[in-house]
Symmetry: C2
Subunit: 144 residues, 2 copies
């Protein structure tokens, strides 16, 4: 519990009741839930909780790097409390999502879960192109 609070503080997030609940849920459940799932799970124990708060919190935590937003499901965003480098596998049949340890070379990975038939591998990079990186640097300069 104290670990949760520290994790938020480490990422510059003031630990409120709601934020800690969302963070704790994502750390305890490796299921990569949607915002809606998180709301429904937490609502019983926090009856005043609003769905907007869940969305706000998830956005804040994502921006601060405390959690990861996963775009593997074209319908809704999914969230992962584990920010360490790993890949994800989504079954096209049942929609389940597994964590996959990343190896340096692009071989197919299997863990205790069983065999996984890989149809598609998607690799996405996100960052800044040269122009934007330079603009950023200027802005930072201007601010200081």
């Amino acid at each position: 519990m104290e670990r949760i609070k520290q994790h938020l503080l480490d990422h510059d997030v003031k630990p409120s009741l709601q934020r800690m609940a969302v963070m704790k849920y994502l750390m305890d459940n490796k299921t990569h839930p949607t915002a809606d799932m998180i709301f429904n799970e937490l609502f019983p124990s926090i009856p005043t909780l609003s769905k907007t708060t869940v969305y706000n919190t998830l956005k804040l935590l994502t921006d601060k790097g405390a959690i990861l937003m996963i775009g593997i499901d074209e319908k809704n965003a999914r969230f992962d409390g584990d920010t360490s480098p790993h890949a994800h596998f989504r079954c096209k049949g049942c929609g389940c999502i597994y964590d996959i340890p990343i190896d340096v070379n692009n071989t197919i990975f299997v863990d205790g879960i069983g065999e996984l038939t890989i149809d598609e591998v998607h690799v996405y990079y996100k960052g800044s192109c040269k122009e934007c990186a330079e603009a950023h640097a200027e802005n930072d300069q201007a601010k200081s």
Copy 2:
């Protein structure tokens, strides 16, 4: 032009005017456009075109493997006429999306575009978990 038609036929898609136009647009433009962009670009030359047709066509082409749906933009789906293995880079500043050649080892790649600052690398696998793969096999068996 004949190449477009053949590409559709190769993927079991009956080549209609609209389908060829969408396919041609994606082959000519490596910009990873959204459905909306494609509609707006094609509408002048095909005044009867409907946005629903664009969506239908993109879904069909994606299902048949003639194009790729890219989930790098959390707002809307993007499409790529190049189905050969390559990664994508999206600038968080301007939103531009570049094709990135994939190498076996996970080093950072640069091409003629210039330097790219990589903040995040997302690797997604899609396929079937063991249970679904087996269910699939049974279904196929039953059908034959």
